[in-house]
Structures are given as structure tokens and as C-alpha cells.
């Protein structure tokens, strides 16, 4: 049981009705930590748009400590079990917003997502960080954002007015309304090799300086690529995707080395052309990131399009 210092109602059941908010400003504040058990309760508490959401805590808790974020109300989502489910249907995969990186790391239904999750942070962070948290924070270097952009994923948001589904690019452009809860991510079932590669300050437990996700769809004969860490949002190098798509022998799913190399060069060109490049920072210059994007893209294409390699994981590091 949680009680506030002034003895007001506990935050355990977390229905807004249980928290009489005193009308006169300054007399008292409502209980500031809510720990709901259901999505329905969560969106009710969120209805006035005045609460911060706590998922895995890896971003919010350090920000509370330094004072960078100072919410009056926090909704902790750890106990909302319906957010922690994942599953597959005929037409796609659905992953609850509360699913952790560790949950995804061993998920055989999406090898690219598993490969991405395995290189996020450290075991400690992977045990805490969630899909919904990654989208909520929307760090331009976020590993998961890069992969979800390449995988043509959609974000499911819910408020008291109902649910809506938006593509990842439009979610990243428009953001989440403060009254909405990210409940899930949907993405198509994998239909071919997938890879996620990143460069960072260290091989492990390090944020990506540049990342590259590649998703090959051998049924629809498409190649999708996303580059993270070069702009405010992951970049889709459309011309490079079209080039490699035309160069793949779709009967075997392979591409010759010159197509793979040309793909890397076109990705570098696409990164050069982005309108909102992330500026030089102490970890990497713009020129380095542009170069690294092309190298990673060609490497990823080499792994995914170099012919049968039944054993090797397409997502290796």
C-alpha cells in the first residue's frame, strides 16, 4: 500500500475516482504516483494529459534524479500486464508496449527484432527497457526506432476516445498526444533475411553512433533499409532500396557484390542529402557518420543477399 505523506488516498488501485483532486490550487496535490493495472485505467488517468509515463524507467528515473524532468504526476506501467503480451497472427506480429528488450532478444518469430534487441544497452537495461519506452523517448539514435522504420511497423495508441494506428514515420513526426498511451507495435511477419548493425563507442553496452536495419522481403520482392543516428529520425534511403531491389536475383534472393557495394554508396548519398542532419558531436563527425552508414548498409546487404547461409544468423554483430 502506498500512501502519500499528507495521508490522502493510496495510489494502489489508481482509478482517478479514488483520487479526489482538491479543487483549490495549492491546497493539496493529488497523489502523484499512479500504478494502474489495466490499459483502461491508464488512459483514464491520462485523460487530462498532465502525467508522465514510466515504463522501464531507464530514461525517466535518471532524468528525475538530475531534475531534467520534473513531473507532478507519474503513471507507472509495470503492473499493466496486458501491455506485456506479444503474439503473431496471419498478417503480422503485435508486440505490447511493455515487452522488454530481453523478451524480444530470444523471439524466433522476428529474427531482425531479436538481433536489434540483443545489442541494446546492457543486460540490466535490456531487462528493464520496453518497446513503448523506446517509442516514447524517441531518441534519434534509438536502436529499435531504426529497425521498426525499416520493418514498416505501426504504432497503436489509445486514449479515452479510442484507439488509432499510425505508421512509425508519422508517429515520429507528430509525436504522442499527452492523453494517449502507446499500447503496441504492429509489424509484418518476416519474409526473408533481416539484419541490424550498429557502430558505437564500444561493441556492447553502448548507444549507437550510427545504425542500419535491413529487411528483405522475398515474397513481395522488396528491400527496406533504415539508417539511425544521422538525422532527427531514421532515414529511409529510397533510391538505394530501389537500386538493390532491381539488382537482386529474386529466384535465389542473392545480389552480386557490385550491387551490394553500389547500395552502400547510394546509402551514403542518401545520408548526405538529409535535410536535418544531426550535428557533429564529440563521438562522431557528420562525415564519419555518413561514411559509416554506407559501410554498415553494404555489410548488412552482404549478409542478407549473399546466398544461402542457413545457419548463420542474419542479425550478427
Amino acid at each position: 500500500m502506498i500512501t502519500t505523506a499528507d495521508g490522502t488516498i493510496g495510489a494502489q488501485t489508481a482509478r482517478p475516482a479514488d483520487h479526489p483532486v482538491l479543487g483549490a490550487a495549492g491546497l493539496a496535490s493529488p497523489a502523484s504516483l499512479y500504478r494502474p493495472l489495466t490499459v483502461a485505467d491508464t488512459v483514464e488517468i491520462l485523460a487530462d494529459g498532465a502525467a508522465d509515463l514510466l515504463a522501464g524507467g531507464t530514461d525517466l528515473v535518471p532524468a528525475l534524479r538530475t531534475g531534467r524532468r520534473r513531473p507532478r504526476r507519474i503513471i507507472a506501467l509495470r503492473r499493466v500486464l496486458e501491455l506485456r503480451t506479444r503474439g503473431a497472427s496471419a498478417d503480422g506480429l503485435i508486440i505490447g508496449a511493455g515487452v522488454t528488450y530481453q523478451d524480444l532478444a530470444g523471439w524466433s518469430l522476428s529474427p531482425g527484432l531479436a538481433a536489434t534487441a540483443r545489442v541494446v544497452g546492457s543486460p540490466q537495461i535490456r531487462n528493464l527497457g520496453t518497446v513503448g519506452g523506446a517509442l516514447g523517448t524517441a531518441d534519434p539514435r534509438g536502436d529499435l526506432l531504426t529497425f521498426l522504420s525499416a520493418a514498416d511497423a505501426e504504432v497503436v495508441l489509445r486514449s479515452v476516445h479510442g484507439a488509432r494506428t499510425v505508421t512509425v514515420p508519422s508517429y515520429l513526426a507528430e509525436g504522442r498526444d499527452p492523453t494517449e498511451l502507446i499500447t503496441a507495435v504492429r509489424l509484418p511477419r518476416p519474409c526473408g533475411p533481416q539484419a541490424y548493425l550498429k557502430v558505437g563507442a564500444r561493441q556492447a553496452a553502448s548507444a549507437a553512433v550510427v545504425s542500419c536495419a535491413l529487411v528483405v522481403d522475398r515474397v513481395r520482392e522488396r528491400v527496406a533499409c533504415a539508417i539511425g543516428g544521422v538525422a532527427g529520425r531514421p532515414v529511409r534511403p529510397v533510391a538505394a532500396e530501389d537500386f538493390v531491389r532491381a539488382g537482386v536475383d529474386w529466384a535465389t534472393g542473392t545480389a552480386p557484390p557490385d550491387v551490394v557495394a553500389g547500395f552502400g554508396e547510394l546509402v551514403t548519398e542518401a545520408v548526405r542529402a538529409v535535410e536535418d542532419p544531426l550535428p557533429d558531436d564529440p563521438r562522431a563527425s557528420v562525415a564519419y557518420r555518413r561514411h559509416a552508414a554506407g559501410v554498415l548498409a553494404a555489410r548488412a546487404a552482404g549478409r542478407c543477399l549473399s546466398g544461402p547461409s542457413p545457419v548463420r544468423s542474419a542479425g550478427g554483430r
Binding site: M1, A5, S29, S32, L54, Q124, L128
Partner: protein, 204 residues
């Protein structure tokens, strides 16, 4: 709030933490190393690390980066390895929290601690509690992890003294001892997953 004797500056007055004035204070119980501890009047945004150290005096949980990067504050929460600096303490009220003191005898914790001493894996010692928690968690899940997997699994624990070589040597020795016939110190499958045996540990 009763002030721990070791600390002569209260958290509220720490000028580096202006946000501590924002939001009300809350009281709740935490389940630490099998015992129940009362937290009274803690700022609602306090991390589990700060509550363990400042409110409950659990000083084996070390405080270095407070950004989830160094691993010195590692604990198990419901049997999962986490950095306590990135956990909201009040949201851990119904979880079982296990520090190095509560790892118990069911898993490899004792053998890990002995091997750390025998192999010089403890130098300044600041990172050691976090490492012991992380290594115990790893060996309970993956007793035969090879060196690559060990290094990758410990990437979230930073040591600035040993260069990691002695830590790896200590872990390898635990693994070798386990494979030796007649060794009874620790066998996987005979004990519980660390952090799930709540009869062990004293909470201190």
C-alpha cells in the same frame, strides 16, 4: 524521515538535486533480501538505489553513475538483473529485491565471492557487489557460458581497476570447479534461481 547516522546532509538539502522538492512524499514497503523494510516519507521520484542507500542504509549497493551505465548498483528485481538507479523505488513496492547480501546459498553466489577473492578480482572493491550480483545471475542462467558470452553479459558492469582479466579468471574457475567430479559447492539445477529464495539473507 529518520536520518541515517552515516549521512550528515539530508537528501532534501542536496543542491544538486533540485527536483527533490517537487511532488509529495510517499510511504511504502520494500521487500529486500527476504525481509520487509518500511520506507517513510520518501520523495515520490526517488530511485531504488537512493532509497536503498539513503533511507534503508543498504550500502552494498554502490552509487556511481546513476544513469544505468556502470552497473555498480546492480540488484535482482523479481529475479531479473537490473540497475537500481533506473528503477523507481515506489514502483518496486511489490517486487522482491535481492542485493549481494541476499543471493543465498542455492546458486553460485558463494563460489563466485570466494573465486573473486582467490583470483584478485577485487581491487578497490567498489564495483564488486554489482559484479557479484551480475555474475551470479549469469552463471545461474548460463552455467557454461564461454568467454565471449561472459564478457558480453558483463558489459554493463564497469571496473576501472582490474582490466577484467582477473574477473574473467575468477568466473572461469567457478565454472571449472563445477565440472570437476565430486565438487558439491554448486551445481546448476540443484539450487533456485538467485533472488527467488527468500528464506536466505538477512536484509543487511
Amino acid at each position: 524521515m529518520s536520518e541515517p547516522a552515516y549521512r550528515n546532509v539530508s537528501v532534501d538539502e542536496d543542491p544538486a538535486c533540485p527536483s527533490h522538492d517537487a511532488g509529495p512524499r510517499v510511504s511504502y514497503q520494500l521487500h529486500i533480501d527476504g525481509g520487509v523494510r518500511e520506507v517513510a516519507g520518501a520523495w515520490f521520484g526517488e530511485s531504488l538505489l537512493r532509497v536503498l542507500r539513503d533511507h534503508l542504509g543498504v550500502l552494498s549497493v554502490k552509487d556511481a553513475c546513476e544513469q544505468g551505465r556502470c552497473g555498480s548498483c546492480s540488484v535482482l528485481m523479481d529475479g531479473r538483473l537490473v540497475t537500481s538507479c533506473t528503477v523507481l523505488a515506489a514502483d518496486a513496492a511489490d517486487a522482491q529485491v535481492t542485493t549481494v547480501a541476499g543471493l543465498g546459498v542455492g546458486g553460485p553466489a558463494r563460489a563466485v565471492q570466494a573465486a573473486f577473492l582467490a583470483h584478485g578480482a577485487v581491487q578497490c572493491g567498489f564495483c564488486t557487489p554489482g559484479f557479484v550480483v551480475a555474475v551470479t545471475d549469469l552463471l545461474a542462467r548460463r552455467p557454461d557460458a564461454d568467454e565471449d558470452e561472459i564478457r558480453e553479459s558483463l558489459a554493463g558492469n564497469i571496473c576501472r581497476c582490474t582490466g577484467y582479466g582477473r574477473i574473467i579468471a575468477a568466473i572461469r574457475s567457478v565454472q571449472e570447479a563445477r565440472r570437476r567430479p565430486g565438487d558439491t559447492r554448486w551445481r546448476p539445477g540443484t539450487g533456485q534461481r538467485p533472488g527467488t529464495d527468500q528464506r536466505q539473507g538477512t536484509g543487511r
